[in-house]
Symmetry: C2
Subunit: 197 residues, 2 copies
């Protein structure tokens, strides 16, 4: 890992860390929980609860951008519940209502980084928390990604993006900087496809 890249990363982490967290009362807005009795084919009934995010299952897309220089783009953002309070990983986001996963992937990549790709290849898909959610995530590799636009984030999104080599991204997993399962599995599954390694 190049020293100057690690320094750049540490600056973003410092900028986005949580310095104060305060619990507030009231009903949850984004995350809801539904309750079900389920009759199984063995005639037993079990009770299960389902996590709902923004009135949807919460399925997400994860994007591994590969630039023309064969680099990748990572994002740094607040992850207020983690130990470091800041997470590093691949661009990602929730699929909107009625949206095709590949459309969501292009949209999230553009919003979070300003990079554009018209060559997205599906890498893998999986349930994120199959015991209590329908969330089914899909990972894409976005080839020939080019910085053509500006970031455009929601009000409550603060995201820094960061260019590095694919091998440096793998190193960031080993060093404990990339800790989210979506990014880790996507990088793992991409190993056999990324050229020049």
């Amino acid at each position: 890992m190049r020293k100057e890249k690690l320094l750049e990363l540490k600056q973003y982490i410092n900028e986005l860390k949580t310095v104060k967290i305060e619990q507030i009362l009231g009903e949850s807005q984004f995350i809801k929980v539904n309750r079900f009795n389920c009759l199984l084919n063995n005639q037993k009934t079990i009770f299960r609860e389902e996590i709902i995010k923004n009135n949807l299952p919460g399925s997400a897309v994860i994007i591994l951008p590969i630039t023309e220089e064969n680099n990748t783009i990572l994002v740094v953002e607040p992850r207020v519940f983690t130990e470091k309070t800041v997470g590093i990983g691949l661009p990602a986001g929730y699929i909107e209502k009625g949206e095709q996963p590949i459309v969501a992937a292009k949209r999230e990549l553009e919003e979070e980084t300003g990079y554009v790709s018209n060559n997205l290849i599906e890498l893998t898909k999986f349930y994120q928390d199959e015991g209590c959610s329908k969330a089914y995530n899909i990972s894409f590799m976005a080839l020939n990604a080019k910085k053509l636009k500006k970031q455009h984030l929601d009000e409550s999104e603060f995201i820094r993006y960061f260019e590095c080599t694919f091998d440096e991204a793998l190193e960031l997993v080993d060093l404990g900087y990339i800790e989210g399962v979506n990014s880790i599995l996507t990088l793992e599954k991409a190993k056999k496809y990324v050229k020049g390694r």
Copy 2:
């Protein structure tokens, strides 16, 4: 994949599938949502919601058992929110309050399968849903696993276990039978350690 093993698996899937699901009213019990205002180091405030499971973060252990015959043990259980309504994967479960992850791993392996191992090796760890949860999962490989006990399940748990080779487990990922990210990443990370492949 051996035909008779696939048949065995399909029988368990049929037995444990959901035939009727009915939403019920009332406050959620197992899953709760907490709300927070978070002040970042950049002086911005963001609002985030946190998923709580059974009054804990919901951190889980995942166990890849390796028997003396170099086979592995999978579990089949209801996953009522998934398309198939039944999931196949590695033994796994939530870490209890104050419990060491390795103790939780031994306990869950014994409870779900009756297999016992005293040689657990940590494979990997990761946040399961870092945007809205503190859940930090740990995967173990359980060597020399022996069938020494009976399954002992909670009232609302219906779990079948299933012996196959490690390569057959990988095949079940490729065939779309194993779809949960915890099992998939654990199997992926174990590839370099499992002997005789």
